[in-house]
Subunit: 406 residues, 2 copies
Amino acid sequence: MPRSVAVHRQAVMELLAGVAITKGNQSVPLLQALGKPLAADIYAPLSLPPFANSQMDGFAVRSQDIPSSGAELRVTAPVPAGAAPAPLKPGFAAPIMTGAMIPEGADAVVPIEKANPSSFPEPAATDVLVELPPVAPGTYVRNSGSDIEKGSMALAAGTLLGPAQLGLLAALGLATVDIPQPLRVLLVTTGDEVVEPGEELTAGKIFDSNGTLLEASMRQAGLDVVRSGISDDHPASLLAVLQQHTRQGGPAVDLIVTTGGVSKGAYEVVRQALAGHPVDFLPVAMQPGGPQGLGTFNGVPFLGFPGNPVSCLVSFEMFLRPALSEVVGAPAPRPVQKARLAEALTSPGGKHQVRRGTLAGNGTIHMEGGAGSHLVHALARANALVHIPAGVTELTAGAEVEVWML
Amino acid sequence: MPRSVAVHRQAVMELLAGVAITKGNQSVPLLQALGKPLAADIYAPLSLPPFANSQMDGFAVRSQDIPSSGAELRVTAPVPAGAAPAPLKPGFAAPIMTGAMIPEGADAVVPIEKANPSSFPEPAATDVLVELPPVAPGTYVRNSGSDIEKGSMALAAGTLLGPAQLGLLAALGLATVDIPQPLRVLLVTTGDEVVEPGEELTAGKIFDSNGTLLEASMRQAGLDVVRSGISDDHPASLLAVLQQHTRQGGPAVDLIVTTGGVSKGAYEVVRQALAGHPVDFLPVAMQPGGPQGLGTFNGVPFLGFPGNPVSCLVSFEMFLRPALSEVVGAPAPRPVQKARLAEALTSPGGKHQVRRGTLAGNGTIHMEGGAGSHLVHALARANALVHIPAGVTELTAGAEVEVWML
């Protein structure tokens, strides 16, 4: 009885959970944290704005100095942004710039356009008067703490750090931030038939696309990727690679992902190499990507993906990526949408089928290529994964399906 | 009369268009191209699959050897993936693995589960027979070129290179790919009141969040960012920085972006420094981010953003990012969605207002903070920009608005 997609995803999460806990955090300069999750809650070390400041270019006044008919006030020294102004005396108006500190005593700003004359006097001018209309207390004043109060929570642990979140940390005066240590994954593609791109292709061989496809996916998901090169179909070769990266005291990895060799054929190198290790090779009720390996090798969590490129991508998107989102807090889960099928589909009833498609602006999804897991050109045209749940065998054109935007 | 958002965006595009053309392309290893646009069309140097191969573990046969009643065929040498098999003689069946080359003469594969016995003989066994059911020609054969034919277009210029696209290039045997040279932008934050995060904050000063916010946004958009540090409110200081990065024969940049000093106050350092240079300082009918500078400095395209963090982010998202998507081909435009307002809103009728909000799963958008452009904590909670077009002054709760997902 194949395992459901949900059960296998849960198993992958549990496999990763232990590693993520033991990895710990690291402090990095703000921009190095771009796209990473915040490791711990951050409380504001100061209020924002740090002090009451003007929202406009204008005149800072004591509002009670101006009756409803308006008033002529004496112009005092201007307050540029960045200065610490003297207190404002009664009967005076201080020219003030946007962002500049409101002088002690002042409680409102009259914008320059409403003043008469409606331009600032020359800084050297003395004994200048300005006619101002009445203004309610607090007008055009950004109060200290109106964005965030000192001591309150600025960002919660797990928040993904994008430009706005890093901008907030900078505004709070922080130059560094704590993020989780990235997980280090060993990625091993296997197969006698597989050749590195750029090398010579002889009869019966294909170029390795899994390595590039998965390394790119893993990097986008925030993993540190260690590549071993292609391992051939001799179990001893694969075992040597795995031993080398999991040795006590050696350059350890936190996770191993292999591609290929997990099926039921006669030459399944990953199955053969891991015989005797606590790794299950099992069918998951999913198409493509049904055969999966899961367990540990020398104590390091191990995932064995199937060998076709589309199966690899689907395995990553269905199992490893959601587990990272859940356990590490990054990457952000794929956006989920509803879409209508442009064409009728059939699906094996006992499996969750994952097709590739292109979502058009009108909410219609077109399939890219058939169900075949070798169709990497079709995959490269798709912008979404299309889910046909287990139990569904036929869908008509126009049927609603769930899609995950890639 | 303020300029419309659309007219200013078009002006930014035209400013960038010339630079993008003269930058040229660079060849990089596949993984360095992750997230970048493809510089030129790529035609397949080989077919995919490169040769007809088996979709299943099973027996490769000549379909005409098996009548409708089935047949007993003699088992020949197995065909592992990666091997170049001998032609299949009439009356024989070749054990074949998924992905292995179909032998000359064979035209179909019978899956191992349908064979009797339903397991492969030991490789050393001789004179073994297998009973097989009839099979239609082409069954479980992936034909050469069924994914893509040699010589046809694999990817069009401008395609954004994600894991699937890079995986396709690897499958085609390519180890490198041409992408446009990234644009190099000089980012200068200005203001006497602004202090680097991590330094001491004295009265009247604020920490610079614009630099971090914009550098993060620019990096995500694929720009190479050069930071000058904070420039004070002396025009001569700013001019020195700009001269240094635009000198003939020096370390040139392709674009200059400044923050602050573009308004109509008494101390507008960017306006003052660029007097005499072909730079327009103009109002755009947008809130926040209304005052904008646009032109060239020593021949280098120049954009002057306003000084508040929210204004900076909105300026970047409304003008520079869309211009890069259009002119360079990356980043991908922000996903656009319709959403319903959780609360009533007012907007200045003459301006396109850009509010910040959080889109909930049910399609409702909640505002984060008010219209104020200093609210960086509220910005950090938002996941979307909310558009209230010019001409609209009031919207009721439940009204439909366009949102851009950040």
